[in-house]
Amino acid sequence: MSVDVDTISERQNSVSKRSQVGKPPFSVTVSKEGLMEVGLKVESVYRDEQSRWIVAVAESRDKKAFKQLFNHFAPRIKGFCQNNGSTSDRAEEVVQEAFVNIWRKANLFDPKKASAGAWIFAIARNARIDLIRKENRPEADTTDPFFEQNEPESPLAVLEAERKSKLLRDFVRDLPAEQQQVLKLAFFEEKPHSEVAEELGIPLGTVKSRIRLAFKRIRSEFGEI
């Protein structure tokens, strides 16, 4: 797609540009047919209010936004942890640790790279590993000089990614039950795929092929990734 996107790319990057939340200059949306519409507002990137809450916490240390995030996500994080057999007390410890980290790390949230739900999921997962498993969570560090950066992404690709991420959420809900079950056991119960096989009483090969099928759908639905 060859469209002059220089003006949009200025809005890319940098946390400091977040002050433009709410009054973006114009929008580019890519429709299902691949047609591009350039309108007057970029709303796609900051579309959902949960992303805006995190950005408000990062930029103005906004406690009202923080409380809204808490009201929305804390009960879900607790439910999520209890799937793993954690007691109510332990699950609430994870909730607290997660929200302290959401406050501390809000500046690292990039609404162009992840949805609010995915970012908070990752923080809650890491809090669970830290508090319940008492292990470190090794992660690729983007500030590392030996981190191989991505090819510079076009702003259009970025907007596409945001659209894809919303589609993905619907898509998970529509997966065949047996593929969804494998993903749920993995994510809710933090079970490695080998234990998922034991728990379901099915061969490891079957679990692997369900994972492959789910991934294949993710790929075909969202382009080669």
Binding site: A58, R61, K67, F70, A74, P75, R76, I77, K78, G79, F80, Q82, S88, A91, E92, Q96, V100, W103, R104, N107, L108, K113, S115, A116, G117, A118, W119, I120, F121, A124, N126, I129, R133, K134, E135, N136, R137, P138, E139, A140, D141, T143, D144, P145, F147, E148, Q149, N150, L168, R169, V172, R173, E190, K191, H193, K208, I211, F215, I218, I225
Partner: protein
Amino acid sequence: MKITHHLSEELLLDYSSGALSEGWSIAVAAHLSKCSHCRALHAKLEEVGGALLTDSAPEGLSYDIFENVLNRLDEGGASVGNEVRKNIEWARRYGIPAVVTDYLAADTKKLPWKSLGLGVSQVVLETKDTTATARLLKIPAGKKVPHHSHNGRELTVIFSGGFTDETGNYGPGDIQEIHGNAEHQPWVREEEDCICLAVTEAPLKFSNVAVRLAQPLIGI
């Protein structure tokens, strides 16, 4: 950097969901530091996690939890990620990513290599993981490592140099995933030493010396 050997889907799923323990996760994160292809897929899996979290059944919280959180907050600006990194000579020389150097950066001038014999040296990473052992290995250029096998899983991520074995050619950024008792015989490239991260199942603690000695390849 042209990466040809990527993470398997199962391994990436285990890492993204949080199921994978620390030792193995270092290898996955080291590959992700080098591979934007796998990183894109990892981001999608975290979106799956986010979708499942968003749709999960809310549980009522004790009334004072938010209060407790507020009491633990620092008032300053959010500035995580702006820390200045140490200049680590050996990391620069070998292209070792931060997720690995963070475990080893006590001495920024040199690595505390320990000889394993046969010209091979290692530095073990101190983790909290009791199920897997992660170590940095240095294997001399041109070395043909004897035929050996490992029990269970073995992950190897290459940072510099490379090797060839029955399964293909491995260069910087590549990850090799071996399962079960598959035998292999890596042959290190002639031009330079191979520096890689190897993660294996933690050795069982046998009291019997003979059994210990029977463990394959130079005690790994």
